[in-house]
């Protein structure tokens, strides 16, 4: 027989062992050792076993005694969730890691625009929902101790005091949680000490339950088939499960599995590697199966062995004790103790993170006027807040235990707690699968679900007449018949659990959906919604902070106070390296601020981190670009339309070019038509006279030889004119097409002018006096002399032809001006009328009528030739008479000769 004191001693040794294991694990993690174990999928799976609390360790057997197979639903739901990891958990874990989520409240608040209101609501709901559960653990430990005390038969020095025992257990748990749960501030970092202790306890409770089960099946009942026979003949030997409860409880357990703060802590926050989830997807259902395998045999054997009236919740303990197996009983006690303590530790850890991040820190920040920018280390405040929260929560659990008087079946309290936290489910699922979920929707859904849960499940659990009066139960709230806590809207006859789960979850979901559909999210909500829902699509998260003139110093000061000097320095250095600004503070780019916010969020939660940065950034800054990033679709549409715009711009440009080209073509075509009509006119005139005179010659028989000669000479001259015209046309086309080759040679200007004057005079009957300055003409040129003389001949011939003075005179003067030689041809006639001056260089332009000598191509050809030679030919309207000026550049050689001639001219 084990005495109570011996049991306590074993218990203390076990606890000391746990402390050592946790301590060694922390040290190893700090030194970077033992990663193979600390970060292994095995430890991850075992840490999930905090799902199996003392309620399931002890209570499952009691549950089986009362309701047969129903106990197993509590394990089936989570098994399905784990097996279906791909649907929900994979997404949750990824979001948790990406957003550095610290708790279930942080997840929901972060999703709905980092709303602190929502975080506070979820935190309060979690505290209200989980406190009874913590009380339950304390109760189970003290009850199990009392069973030992009873079997001990009063050999202990003093009678067993359950209140004191509960207090001591609570105090011990608080010390452990404070020691190992608040070692590092970053709630997102793994608590290696806690996790490893939980893993050890997971093994202990499994081994204990299996040991008791094996003892019962093979030691007491005498084998598998005998056990099965015993089961069939026992009071619970037949299937009598209510279908509604069966399905409702599977769903409830599945919902609670992901919503319970402690499960979220181990599943998501403490997750180290997403692949561990895949291993746990089969390993954890296996664990659950083993935990529930021997529940029914133990229950049945317990019913056989134990006296009627014995508490079936403790058959796991009392059956071995009654068989004199004190060692086994001690092991079983340790198993129950492990279940209780590990649950309390992790639940308290999760809740304290929520309370300190979402309630204490915001209040503290609001009370301190300077807010985030004030000096002083915030880390101590955060850690202190977390420690105080731990004490507060465990104290709350203890008081609840004292107030509830340690009564009631374990399973009932457990289910109530499940129902409470399951209210998070619609907001959570909606948040990670539906972009349309809004903060108002989540708040309304939570409020509705939670009120219904409190009214139909929590308050009735205290019993009729305690919180809710008997009248309320029978007549409904305020005497309204449809507000009876166990028959809402007149739906009576349902099982209370099914009733409560159905109404709370369905109305919660309904309110959440309707309000979400009707409300409009703020920009930050939309931003976060996109990031949560598209967590697998976005390689880079969208940005939440616009670029503003923020001193990195301010951010640095704040970061130091929360992360600690060394860590903040490290973080800033990494970013400085990343921005290629070594040894400087990083620039406060949106990326950087976003990263810093995530880092801070891991310590103080998303809402608080956002608020702190907002204080420094000057308001929650979501820029227009961010809004575009939020609306993924609209961003895509925008991009598409901008592409379209670009294309249409290109098109319109091309169209404009085409239009221009078309205009040019039309102009050219008009010019061509004009040219053709002119040329045909020019060709027809001589052709007509040639035809006329040759017909006269042919048809007139008697004609004097003088007449014949006259007509023949007319035909001859017209033929010459035609030839000249064709030559000119050819010449012009050659010049215009640039096909002309210039034969550059050296010669003096004087020689060119001399030759031109001779030629021009030779071809004309009219007499003109030509005044020259031969001494100034001694300029050596390197150019195409023949072409130049062609220009000069044309100009001189024009003067001879068109000068209308009584005594025609042409003055040819030469001057050198700015590196060019200017030759001016000026006659003493009336000059060219103003209105035709600008056309004289055009093709077929002729001044006056009647003369009919030229085709009007001469000046065009002149201009083309001079242009080829690199010079210009101009008409000088202001001068006396018709005055043309030809300017020609002087090449190097020409320049030299020019200097010589200039000197000579000066002499």
């Amino acid at each position: 027989m084990v005495s109570l004191n011996q049991l306590i001693a074993v218990c203390l040794i076990y606890v000391a062992g746990l402390f050592t294991v946790a301590f060694v694990a922390e040290r190893a993690a700090l030194n970077g050792q033992g990663k193979w174990l600390l970060r292994s999928p095995l430890v991850y799976t075992l840490s999930l076993s905090i799902y199996c609390t003392a309620w399931t360790f002890y209570g499952a057997v009691g549950y089986a005694v009362r309701s047969g197979m129903e106990y197993v639903t509590i394990y089936l739901g989570p098994s399905l969730v784990m097996i279906g990891w791909w649907w929900l958990l994979r997404r949750l874990v990824r979001i948790g890691r990406r957003q550095r989520v610290t708790s279930v409240a942080d997840l929901i608040s972060s999703r709905y625009g980092k709303s602190n209101t929502l975080a506070i609501v979820v935190t309060l709901m979690a505290v209200i929902g989980v406190t009874p559960y913590i009380a339950l653990q304390l109760q189970s430990v003290t009850l199990s101790l009392s069973i030992f005390a009873a079997s001990d038969g009063g050999t202990a020095a003093q009678p067993f005091n359950s209140a004191r025992a509960a207090f001591l257990v609570a105090a011990g748990l608080a010390v452990f949680t404070v020691l190992f749960g608040t070692r590092n501030l970053n709630a997102n970092d793994r608590h290696h000490g806690v996790v490893i202790a939980v893993a050890v306890e997971a093994v202990v409770k499994l081994v204990a339950l299996l040991a008791v089960g094996i003892f019962v099946v093979w030691g007491v009942a005498g084998g598998v088939s005998e056990t099965l026979n015993r089961i069939d003949t026992s009071p619970i030997g037949q299937w009598r499960q209510d279908g509604g409860r069966w399905a409702a409880l599977i769903i409830l357990a599945a919902a609670a599995f992901v919503c319970l703060p402690r499960m979220f802590q181990v599943l998501v926050v403490e997750n180290d590697d997403e692949r561990h989830l895949q291993t746990a997807s089969w390993a954890f259902p296996l664990y659950l199966m083993l935990m529930s395998l021997f529940v029914v045999p133990i229950a049945v054997v317990g019913l056989d062995l134990m006296p009627t009236g014995a508490n079936p919740d403790f058959f796991v303990l009392s059956v071995p004790l009654s068989q004199g197996q004190s060692g086994l009983a001690t092991l079983s006690f340790l198993g129950g103790f492990s279940s209780a303590t590990s649950m309390v530790i992790v639940a308290t850890l999760a809740l304290s993170t929520m309370v300190s991040n979402h309630i204490v820190m915001p209040v503290w920040l609001a009370l301190r006027k300077g807010g985030a920018q004030q000096s002083g280390d915030v880390r101590n405040v955060v850690i202190l807040a977390r420690r105080l929260s731990i004490l507060l929560i465990i104290l709350l659990g203890y008081f609840y235990y004292r107030l509830s008087g340690g009564s009631g079946a374990l399973a009932a309290i457990g289910l109530i707690s499940f129902g409470g936290v399951a209210q998070f489910l619609p907001a959570m699922l909606g948040g990670i699968f539906w972009r349309g979920a809004t903060r108002s929707g989540a708040l309304t859904g939570l409020a509705v679900g939670f009120s219904i849960w409190a009214f139909t499940m929590l308050l009735p659990s205290f019993g009729e007449g305690s919180v809710l009066s008997r009248d309320v139960f029978e007549q409904g709230l305020f005497g309204l018949g449809w507000l009876r806590p166990q028959a809402l809207f007149g739906v009576a006859g349902l099982d209370p659990i099914v009733h409560a789960v159905w109404w709370s979850l369905s109305l919660n979901t309904f309110a959440f959906l309707i309000v979400s559909l009707c409300s409009f999210p703020n920009p930050l909500e939309r931003l976060q919604g996109a990031q949560f829902v598209n967590v697998f699509d976005h390689a880079n998260p969208a940005q939440g902070w616009s670029r503003q003139a923020v001193g990195s110093e301010d951010l640095m000061i704040m970061a130091q106070r929360i992360l600690g000097a060394a860590e903040a320095q490290g973080f800033f250095d990494r970013w400085a390296q990343h921005q290629r600004r070594p040894k400087q503070l990083p620039e406060a780019t949106p990326d950087f601020v976003q990263g810093l916010e995530r880092e801070l969020a891991a310590s103080v939660g998303a809402a608080t981190a956002h608020a702190m940065i907002a204080q420094i950034m000057g308001g929650a800054a979501v820029s227009v670009q961010d809004l575009l990033a939020v609306a993924d679709e609209s961003a895509q549409i925008l991009e598409y339309s901008s592409q379209l715009e670009e294309k249409s711009h290109e098109l319109s440009e091309t169209a404009a070019q085409l239009r221009e080209a078309n205009e040019k073509l039309t102009q050219l075509s008009v010019q061509k038509d004009i040219f053709l009509s002119q040329i045909s006119h020019e060709l027809r005139t001589p052709m007509t006279s040639i035809r006329a005179f040759s017909e006269i010659l042919r048809d007139t028989d008697e004609m004097s030889s003088d007449e014949q000669t006259h007509y023949a000479s007319i035909i001859h001259s017209e033929a010459i004119r035609l030839t000249r015209l064709l030559n000119d046309l050819l010449d012009l086309s050659v010049l215009e097409n640039g096909e002309v080759t210039l034969n550059e040679n050296e010669g003096t200007l004087r020689a060119v002018i001399e030759r031109s004057v001779l030629t021009a005079r030779a071809g004309s009957g009219r007499v003109i006096r030509i005044v020259r300055q031969p001494e100034l003409e001694e300029i050596t040129l390197i150019t195409d002399m023949d072409r130049l003389s062609q220009v000069f001949i044309n100009l001189i011939t024009n003067a001879i032809k068109y000068c209308d003075a009584a005594a025609p005179e042409l003055r040819i003067s030469v001057a050198v001006h700015e590196g060019a030689v200017r030759v001016v041809f000026q006659d003493n006639g009336r000059g060219i009328p103003d209105e035709v001056q600008k056309f004289i260089f055009d093709k077929f332009a002729r001044v006056g009528t009647g003369e009919g000598e030229g085709a009007g191509l001469g000046l065009s050809i002149c201009r083309e030739i001079v242009g080829r030679l690199g010079g210009t030919v101009q008409y000088l309207p202001e001068a006396q008479g018709a005055t043309f000026r030809v300017s020609l550049p002087i090449g190097t050689k020409a320049g030299e000769s020019l200097e010589k001639t200039g000197i000579r001219a000066a002499e």
Partner: protein, 82 residues
């Protein structure tokens, strides 16, 4: 979307079907575990409930089968990744 090929090579095809199986497994399990809703119950008039031993064996057999399938799929996805 349009960039993805319509047909996959054998290996990736197999991998996708394994992932389909992973997705379907929980629904399969839920279906099997809801079968007890149709069993005769002790409280139904004139009917003896199904023997508890049979219930026990059925539920745990389904459980074990799901775990085994899950292990097989896990093993195969890991091999497919390597």
């Amino acid at each position: 979307m349009s960039r993805n090929p319509i047909f996959l090579e054998r290996k990736s095809y197999r991998r996708r079907r394994i992932m389909d199986a992973v997705r379907l497994l929980p629904l399969f399990g839920l279906g099997l575990w809801l079968v007890p809703l149709m069993w005769p119950r002790q409280v139904d008039p004139g009917a003896d409930g199904l023997a508890m031993s049979a219930v026990l064996i059925y539920i745990f057999a389904v459980w074990l089968m799901l775990i085994c399938l899950c292990v097989v799929l896990w093993w195969r996805t890991r091999r497919a990744e390597d």
